[in-house]
């Protein structure tokens, strides 16, 4: 075989290096893409947004060790959750909302952000936002008319995060429905309700906020809410023009319906 010139050898070596790095890089990235996606995961209190959390959490488990109730776990291979990151399953062990929040200040990297659970310089678990409890009205026996307020009683901020709504049971004509209603602004997503729910598979369960909540475009304004109404003060006029067809509507009948497609 002919010996390669120095130049050719250099170029080939470089090309091979780049090729191998590309193979490795693509496989690695594809793995990571799947490995870090777990949209139904519940994080410890004060966790950064999921994308920042994945970049910042060092997977040391100090939050897990600090948790007095063994609520938090680190994801193991086979858990189908981002490897080594902390999470909890409220049906098994919910977050008991410790007032001193031991899991947060121990975080060495700030992936659990103390400032997000601090009000007026004091730790305040009440402002934590781990998720939002959602009620499945089909399987909640309170919606059947059976008296059950297990979730309401279990809620650490009962009366605020969960309230009971009374309404008449028209089926019997003489009983009341005592329906649990979750209020998103107060609910921390601790999952004590999910833990307490009496149905076989819980009828009230915590989901991450991004999954459980919708969001409204800014042009909808609650006119009856002065705070919301105030947004109008800064509103600027936006002029839009729409090109309206000059043709008559009747003409469409003679066009083989082409302009409808």
């Amino acid at each position: 075989m002919k010996k390669l010139s120095e130049r050719r050898e250099f170029l080939l070596t470089m090309a091979r290096g780049i090729g191998l790095a590309s193979i490795g890089g693509l496989v690695w990235s594809a793995y990571l893409d799947k490995a870090v996606s777990a949209p139904l995961l519940l994080r410890p209190p004060a966790a950064l947004s999921e994308s920042d959390f994945l970049a910042t959490c060092i997977k040391c488990g100090l939050c897990v060790e600090a948790c007095p109730y063994d609520t938090l776990m680190l994801a193991k291979p086979g858990d189908e959750r981002p490897l080594g990151t902390p999470f909890f399953i409220p049906r098994d062990i919910p977050c008991y909302m410790c007032p001193d929040i031991p899991c947060v200040p121990v975080c060495p990297t700030g992936a659990l952000d103390e400032s997000s659970v601090t009000t007026h310089g004091v730790l305040d678990i009440g402002v934590a936002n781990m998720g939002l409890a959602v009620v499945d009205e089909e399987s909640c026996i309170a919606f059947w008319g059976i008296q059950c307020d297990a979730c309401y009683r279990a809620c650490p901020i009962l009366g605020e995060a969960i309230t009971i709504e009374y309404s008449k049971n028209e089926r019997t004509g003489k009983h009341a429905f005592l329906k649990p209603v979750v209020h998103a602004d107060a609910c921390t997503g601790c999952g004590l309700c999910e833990h307490a729910c009496v149905t076989k598979k819980p009828a009230i369960f915590v989901l991450p906020n991004e999954i459980a909540q919708g969001s409204v475009d800014t042009h909808y304004i609650r006119g009856w809410d002065t705070k919301d109404e105030n947004r109008l003060e800064k509103a600027q006029e936006i002029k839009t023009t729409t090109n309206i067809s000059k043709k008559k509507a009747v003409d469409s009948l003679n066009s083989n319906l082409e302009d409808l497609y």
Binding site: W28, E65, D79, V106, P108
Partner: protein, 276 residues
């Protein structure tokens, strides 16, 4: 008995250190000890002194994380220790995968795999530096710490401390790879953390030193060394092992029956040389 001690003393000490560290971490999670909490990624000594993995910090930096002071202090402590004193000692004295790869190397020798595959190794030891660079590039592109989500070291270590799951599979893959595919494959060729510590520990003080005048050229040291290219001076010159890829495991020192290898501090050696 004396010979057993003298031939395996560092190996014994290393296993005591490796297992001891695991036990301390395990105890912190299981029984609430506070001597060493956390895991090898980040930990607290006695609940106060922070330690963090400097390679993880590099990945976090690439991924665009905002770094906390606590983390920087922890990384500073670890990085300074290995930079000034330990060299690549993490790999042979702390890392739990070292026990897996040592076992693989032992079995490989025992069943004669080395004779089957021959001396020529199909991969370069420089691979780990490429993987190191690649991990940082991928961290930057994907916005997550690329190696930390894949690292069999963390999987095994975290597994032992916090619950294993399928974490044993990573260790088994490495064992089989080292046994059947590539001699010293993981630690000596692939592991980017090892590559990182090779670079960081290049200038550390503790070094293996060779005394050529005592050497009888038995080459036991080269057989036992997992990075045996670092021992290029054996039987040729009295030099310290200066390559950062030496893990300071000291196997060469204890297998030498002629006192031709020993630990010493680099600066002393250099001063002595200048004095002569």
């Amino acid at each position: 008995m004396h010979k057993l001690w003298s031939n395996y003393r560092y190996l014994f000490l290393r296993r005591v250190t490796q297992i001891g560290i695991l036990v301390l971490y395990f105890g912190a999670n299981a029984w609430g000890w506070n001597i060493l909490q956390g895991n090898l990624s980040s930990s607290l000594i006695l609940g106060t002194i922070p330690m963090s993995d400097p390679y993880a910090l590099l990945q976090m930096l690439a991924a665009g994380a905002i770094l906390s002071t606590n983390l920087l202090v922890g990384v500073g402590i670890v990085a300074l220790f290995y930079f000034l004193i330990g060299g690549r000692a993490f790999c042979s004295w702390v890392c739990p995968i070292n026990m897996v790869t040592d076992l693989a190397a032992f079995c490989r020798n025992l069943i004669g795999m080395n004779q089957l595959t021959g001396v020529k190794q199909p991969a370069s030891r420089k691979l780990r530096y490429w993987i190191l660079v690649l991990s940082l590039v991928i961290s930057a592109i994907m916005g997550v710490t690329a190696f930390e989500f894949l690292s069999p070291i963390s999987m095994l270590h975290r597994g032992i401390v916090f619950g294993l799951g399928f974490g044993w599979a990573g260790a088994l893959i490495i064992f089989l790879f080292d046994l059947f595919v590539l001699k010293n494959g993981w630690c000596g060729h692939i592991c980017p953390l090892g590559g990182f510590y090779s670079l960081l520990g290049k200038f550390s003080l503790i070094r293996v030193h060779h005394l050529e005048e005592n050497c009888t050229l038995c080459m036991k040291c080269k057989v036992v060394c997992p990075e045996n290219h670092v021992l290029h001076m054996i039987g040729k010159e009295s030099l310290p092992v200066l390559s950062g890829e030496c893990t300071n495991c000291a196997r060469c020192i204890e297998v030498c029956d002629d006192k031709a290898l020993k630990f010493s501090l680099k600066s002393f050696i250099q001063n002595k040389k200048k004095g002569e």
